[in-house]
Structure formats: structure tokens, C-alpha cells
């Protein structure tokens, strides 16, 4: 990991981080995310009515 720091016009710092090994992987598109969701098995069941009233100590 490399750091390159610059100073912006108003005096704030900004640091660019770069990395030795780059990946060609890119973010998922809307379509990919949707397809993955569709392939992911069962959807969450509709939320059941609350059946418990209790205190759980944090």
C-alpha cells in the first residue's frame, strides 16, 4: 500500500491510497446484484408477529 498526500486549495489534506496488486474485478451491476439475489435461495419469510416479550440484558 502506498500513500500520496496532497494539500487542497483550502489547506485540507487529501491522501491517495494505491496498492501493489490490482484486481480487474469491478463492482456488481444492478443486473448482477439482482440475478445473484434471485439465485440465492429462499426469500426471507414474511415477518411473523412478535411472540415474545422479554428483557435481554445488554
Amino acid at each position: 500500500m502506498q500513500r500520496r498526500q496532497i494539500t487542497l486549495e483550502d489547506g485540507r489534506y487529501l491522501i491517495f491510497y494505491t496498492f501493489d496488486e490490482e484486481t480487474n474485478a469491478s463492482p456488481e451491476s444492478d443486473e448482477e446484484a439482482g440475478a445473484r439475489a434471485a439465485d440465492s435461495g429462499r426469500r426471507a419469510e414474511p415477518e411473523a408477529e412478535p411472540q415474545a416479550t422479554e428483557e435481554r440484558r445488554v
Binding site: 500500500m1 491522501i15 484486481t23 463492482p27 445473484r36 434471485a38 415477518e47
Partner: protein, 337 residues
């Protein structure tokens, strides 16, 4: 109340949900709108917030202090971390390699900000989604370097200290051991981290990620642990998005030891990440209403065991495109139990 409140009136005029063409966190394209980042591309960027709540050289307070109302300059640092140049992405959609890079940047910023004499606590977090109140959609997180230990962390420290005094053990190590033995609230785990809906969840889909090794900060992690943390973050974030087929809003906060030494090494504390999603169904929000805001007692309308099972059903293997250990493309799948 013994708590500080930051007054930062200049933040009233900060940029609010600009159109994508005028996103201040995108790269500055040649001949285009000058953004905060004056280069045509980048990988990950950290910079001082243009609208900070705390500043290294703060102005004098606008009002005078009194015996009843103490006032002091808002010293500290507020940084913005931009995760990717891709405006329409989210951390959940980024490849695990990018999340791994982010873990490395988090670690570097924690180390760098800890070096300030006036900083006692470095708080890394992300607010995601309009339901949380974000003002910019571009994927980014924030860091607040506070001049004191914030109250929520102070409470955790007190409880952790008391538990160790009474039992001789780490509180979070005991919680983690209990969760792994019980299994009902575990969402996913790998060699170095476990993700679970805590027994005492305040939000329906609250998830904590804790290191299996007793560590206090990101700077204690080894290479394999940073990689495992990235993989488990990807797992949890992807499961969140799949849960309701939408980009899941959340607050993500990193809880680490304080950065002041003060004669305490905080060995009784344990590194972990907490997610507080505001959704209780695909269309309903969990509000912090009277009991939560006025009394500090959360009412959770769901059972942690059921919510963990829902999330567990959406856990999928994480695929690395680059095998860093071997330095070659691999398509390797990370272990997710």
C-alpha cells in the same frame, strides 16, 4: 449528563443529495465539474471533511462557558474515506479485494490519527442509505477522531473491565464462545472472525463481527486476519442486500480500544464491528422513539434467533479474483461456515 455535544453550525449548509453529475466524491474528469478529488481516477482516498464537526485547529467557541455550562473548542479530526471511484457502487457490491484494501486503509488511518496528542478515540463508521440520513450517495465512510472517549465506548469499557475483574475473562470472548457453542444467532464465520446477531440485539437485523483472537484494534491484525475480515464483511453486506432484494441501509461502526495510553492498555477490551440497520421489514423502519430516545431502552419487535436464520439463508461464498498469497488470479472461494 456528563456528555459533550458538538455544535457545528456551518454543517447546515453542507452539500445535500446532489445529482450524480455534481457528486463531490467522484473523480474530477478533464474539463468537468471540479470535485473534492482533483484527479481523473483513484483507488481509495482519505481527506479532511470540508464540513467538520471537529477540527485540529478549531475556532474559539461562539458562546462563553459558565459554571453550569462548560464550553471548549471542538478539537479533533473528521475525515472522509471514499471507497471507490464508482459513483453507483456500494461497499456490498465492491469486490472483496476492494474491501480488503479498505481494511488496510482503516488500519493506516487508525494508526495515523492515534498519533495526535489531542486524540483519545478514533471512531471509524459508515452511514449508508437515505433512511440513515446520508447526504451523499457515493460509497464512502467517515472517521471522527475525538478528544475524549465517547459515552457508548466508555460504557463498553466499563462493562468489559467489570467482567474481567469478576471472572478473569474478556466479556466479548465469552460472548463469542457462547454464540459459537449455541449457533442459533451465528450468521457466518471464518478462521478469524464470526458474524452474529447478538443475543441483546437492539435492531432486528443488528449484526456484530468480532475477531476470534483476543485483539484490541485493527493494528493488531495479521495479514490473514485482515483478509478474513474483508471476506466476512463482504458476506454480511451481500446477505443484507439479498434479504429484501434492495440496497440495505445501515450504520456500520468499528469499536476499538481508545488511543490515549493514560496508563491503561485496554487489554480487557475486544475489537469488533457493529451494524445497526434501520429496517425491520422491507418497507418498515425501526424508529428510535420514546423509550429508545428518552429512556435509553430499546424495544426489539423480533427475536435475534429468527433474524439470524433469515440472514444465514442468504450467505454465499466469497470469491476472490486475486489470490494475494500466490499473487495470481484464482477464483478462490473463502471458507464460510
Amino acid at each position: 449528563m456528563g456528555e459533550w455535544v458538538a455544535t457545528a453550525t456551518h454543517r447546515q449548509t453542507r452539500t445535500f443529495l446532489p445529482p450524480a453529475d455534481f457528486c463531490p466524491l467522484c473523480p474530477t474528469k478533464p474539463g468537468g465539474f471540479p470535485t473534492e478529488i482533483p484527479e481523473p481516477t483513484y483507488d481509495i482516498v482519505a481527506f479532511e471533511n470540508r464540513f467538520p464537526s471537529l477540527q485540529p485547529e478549531p475556532p474559539a467557541p461562539a458562546v462563553e462557558a459558565s459554571e453550569l455550562y462548560p464550553v471548549r473548542p471542538g478539537i479533533g479530526v473528521c475525515e472522509v474515506l471514499v471507497y471507490t471511484p464508482h459513483h453507483d457502487s456500494t461497499l456490498a457490491r465492491e469486490p472483496v479485494e476492494q474491501i480488503h484494501k479498505l481494511v488496510e486503509v482503516w488500519t493506516d488511518r487508525f494508526r495515523a490519527l492515534s498519533a495526535h496528542d489531542f486524540v483519545e478515540y478514533v471512531f471509524i463508521f459508515e452511514n449508508k442509505g437515505e433512511a440513515i440520513g446520508v447526504t451523499l450517495h457515493h460509497p464512502h465512510g467517515q472517521i471522527y477522531a475525538y478528544p475524549f472517549i465517547p459515552p457508548r465506548i466508555e460504557r463498553e469499557l466499563e462493562q468489559s473491565r467489570a467482567h474481567q475483574r469478576e471472572t478473569g475473562r474478556c466479556l466479548l470472548c465469552d460472548i463469542l464462545s457462547n454464540e459459537q457453542t449455541d449457533g442459533r444467532r451465528i450468521v457466518a464465520e471464518n478462521d478469524s472472525f464470526a458474524a452474529y446477531v447478538p443475543f441483546f440485539a437492539r435492531y432486528p437485523y443488528e449484526v456484530h463481527i468480532a475477531s476470534t483472537r483476543h485483539l484490541q484494534a485493527l493494528t493488531d491484525l495479521g495479514d490473514a486476519e485482515r483478509r478474513d475480515l474483508a471476506a466476512l464483511l463482504k458476506t454480511v453486506l451481500a446477505a443484507y442486500d439479498k434479504l429484501f432484494d434492495l440496497s440495505f441501509p445501515y450504520m456500520m461502526v468499528l469499536h476499538q480500544r481508545p488511543t490515549d495510553d493514560g496508563g491503561d492498555d485496554y487489554d480487557y477490551y475486544h475489537l469488533h464491528i457493529e451494524f445497526y440497520p434501520p429496517l425491520r421489514t422491507a418497507t418498515k423502519l425501526k424508529y428510535l422513539a420514546g423509550s429508545e430516545s428518552g429512556a435509553g431502552m430499546f424495544i426489539n419487535d423480533t427475536l435475534a434467533e429468527e433474524k439470524a436464520a433469515e440472514l444465514r439463508a442468504h450467505v454465499a461464498p466469497v470469491v476472490w479474483q486475486t489470490n494475494r498469497a500466490a499473487g495470481e488470479k484464482s477464483g478462490e472461494e473463502a471458507d464460510v461456515d
